[in-house]
């Protein structure tokens, strides 16, 4: 058979190329551009090389924000994943309650970020909010606008409230895909409930859990709106996570160069952690 050569087909790829160029590549390259230059406005740029990168990497402020970010993400994953698994295990697999549970679980996911922030802000206000008022009248000294610990607790609880459902739904889907025969075999083999969880449910949930952890990691590592609305990054800098800090530098101080360098470092950190995590989790699958 003679192979025909027709390069016109390349034209069919053009729309996608344009789309990717405008929504990803060009913005990214703009950031790269900014990260290596200094500008004082009027579209006048001076070449700076890797100065901004060095500055950001050495900056105390960036270290603190990164540490806060890692702590926050670590905490919410440590809470949301076990809690999500537990809730998914407790949900009914059959019967009329299934849909009720699913809808209840999905509700927090449907609420926009800034609304969640506003809700929790009002909910937690020490003088008029239900949560704040209750805690204070129980004799606890709670004020998230002034105490770092209270602010942290509120932010973490808010994120757990907002996002545990995602882990629950993913785990639930994983659990539902386990054929009955596995449970029956485990019964026959005399397995304890713990053994059923450890050797059947957990391995079968591994893939969805990997996805759940990845999604929660990326999302929480880039969290902005909720803490911004709830605490505005305060009190002081205590809840200033990476993206809040980034916006402060870029738009508050208008330091475009350092902000661009920080964005790129930020991006690479997310990418690196995701890649390492995914590779480690999937290493055994391929054998």
């Amino acid at each position: 058979m003679r192979k025909t050569t027709n390069q016109k087909a390349w034209w069919l790829v053009v729309p996608v190329l344009l789309l990717v160029a405008f929504n990803a590549f060009i913005p990214l390259m703009t950031v790269v551009n900014y990260s290596m230059q200094e500008t004082f406005g009027n579209n006048v740029f001076f070449w700076e090389g890797v100065t901004w990168f060095e500055k950001v990497l050495r900056s105390e402020r960036f270290h603190d924000a990164l540490l806060r970010q890692l702590l926050f993400t670590g905490m919410i994953i440590a809470i949301e994943v076990p809690l999500g698994i537990a809730v998914a295990l407790a949900m009914p697999r059959k019967g009329p309650w299934v849909s009720v549970c699913l809808v209840l679980m999905a509700l927090p996911l449907l609420i926009p970020w800034n609304v969640v922030g506003a809700m929790w802000n009002i909910f937690a206000l020490p003088d008029i909010g239900l949560l704040g008022f209750t805690l204070n009248s129980m004799g606890l000294d709670y004020n998230f606008t002034q105490q770092p610990v209270s602010a942290w607790m509120t932010t973490v609880v808010m994120d757990v409230w907002h996002w545990t459902s995602l882990v629950v739904l993913l785990c639930y889907a994983g659990l539902c895909s386990i054929p009955d025969a596995y449970y029956q075999a485990a019964h026959i083999d005399g397995a304890s409930p713990w053994a059923v969880f450890r050797y059947i449910q957990l391995p079968k949930m591994k893939r969805v859990l990997t996805i759940a952890i990845l999604l929660r990691f990326m999302d929480s590592f880039m969290i902005y709106t909720e803490p911004f609305v709830l605490t505005g990054g305060g009190p002081g800098n205590t809840t200033t996570f990476l993206s809040i800090d980034l916006v402060k530098i870029a738009l508050g101080q208008f330091d475009l160069g350092p902000a661009a360098a920080m964005s790129l470092i930020y991006f690479l950190v997310v990418l690196l952690i995701c890649w390492v995590f995914y590779t480690v989790m999937m290493r055994n699958e391929e054998q």
Binding site: P179, A181, Q184, H187, A191, Y199, Q287
Partner: protein, 358 residues
């Protein structure tokens, strides 16, 4: 080890709201003698698996009771019944090695590790898994996985019975033969009751001493393979066992003998003349011959299967299948057939009619 007895067991799965329950198992009373090799044979949906799950305690029957020897175990959970069960599709614990999979039922029951490894080694030897003991179970083929499932069923020594729920469905044909004879061999060695569910008659007849034929939620006949072939108690057994199955033809009675197609046939035994209900005769394809006089038929199809031919003939609206040896000629003009009287059965409403003088 014990004798398992079903007393008036009925089971219905929970129906959709607002509907009457449908019984998957209708009134089964049945004894499984200790040490027997049973096959539970029947088409899909006849209640075989339900029956099996009731024995192992995965299901509690809606009505009736189950006894192990004289002990009523109806309410007892699976873990206290000492029953091993192998399922249709392989179940392996993915994260464990083959060894740990086989050891799992033993370790769960607190067997000392030295004994565990001895048992596992024995069973692995038997199933040709010895070389794979260290591998992760998830990496095996479907065959290998099902062998592990079988192994987990066989590894326990203290069981009352081992139940197999179509365990060889996913296995390659040549391996199927091997494993089946292995199971049979094993049964003779350890003498534990085995109940083997299948919808494949060859599998049932080669494995079991006693075949229990199920149809539509009930047991229709229990017997040795020969009994089932020669004396089917129900038209379903006749039709389901044998290949091709028994011909079931409408008939009437004349002085205790069946009449089909205006031919008075001899059934070898007289029956009551006042039978009422749907009357039929059953005759296996093996017992029909071409003859000089008899029932005039029209030949529709001849399938050559090598050592014999399956000939499909027709008389009016009745289709009849017969087996003809390769050495026998098929008449080309005015073919007539006759039935062997000793192997002709009369059925009334699907149940066999016994001799009036018996």
């Amino acid at each position: 080890m014990s004798r398992i007895e079903f007393r008036d067991v009925r089971h219905a799965y929970p129906p959709p709201p607002g509907q009457a329950p449908v019984y998957a198992l209708k009134e089964v009373s049945q004894v499984w003698e200790d040490g027997g090799a049973y096959a539970l044979l029947g088409p899909s949906g006849c209640g075989k698996t339900t029956l099996l799950n009731i024995i192992s305690g995965l299901l509690t029957p809606s009505e009736g009771s189950i006894r192990f020897d004289e002990r009523d175990v109806t309410g007892l959970p699976t873990s206290e019944r000492q029953i091993a069960q192998v399922f249709q599709f392989p179940v392996v614990y993915d994260t464990m090695s083959v060894f740990d999979n086989l050891a799992f039922p033993l370790r769960n029951r607190g067997m000392p590790e030295s004994r565990v490894s001895q048992r596992v080694t024995e069973i692995a030897e038997m199933l040709d898994l010895s070389e794979r003991l260290g591998q992760r179970a998830s990496g095996l083929t479907a065959d290998g996985k099902q062998k592990i499932s079988l192994g987990r069923g066989l590894v326990r020594e203290d069981v009352n019975a081992i139940l197999f729920d179509e365990p060889l469905t996913v296995i390659d044909p040549h391996l199927k033969w091997q494993l089946r004879s292995k199971l049979k061999e094993l049964h003779q060695q350890i003498g534990v009751t085995m109940i083997y569910v299948t919808h494949d008659q060859v599998e049932a007849l080669t494995f079991a001493d006693k075949v229990v034929v199920m149809h539509d939620g009930g047991v229709v006949q229990v017997g040795s393979p020969v009994e089932l072939f020669n004396r089917p108690r129900h038209t379903f057994v006749g039709y389901f066992i044998g290949s091709p199955g028994m011909n079931i033809l409408p008939c009437s009675l004349d002085r205790g003998q069946p009449v089909f197609a205006n031919n008075l046939l001899s059934s070898g035994y007289p029956v009551d003349t006042d039978l009422s209900g749907k009357l039929e005769i059953g005759i296996r394809p093996e017992f029909i011959r071409f003859s000089d006089d008899g029932i005039a038929v029209e030949i529709q199809k001849v399938e050559d299967l090598g050592r014999y031919q399956v000939v499909t003939v027709r008389h009016e609206s009745s289709q009849i299948k017969m087996l003809v040896g390769e050495d026998q000629a098929i008449p080309s003009e005015d073919p007539k057939i006759s039935f062997d009287p000793d192997n002709l059965r009369i059925y009334c409403d699907d149940w066999v009619v016994e001799s009036a003088h018996a």
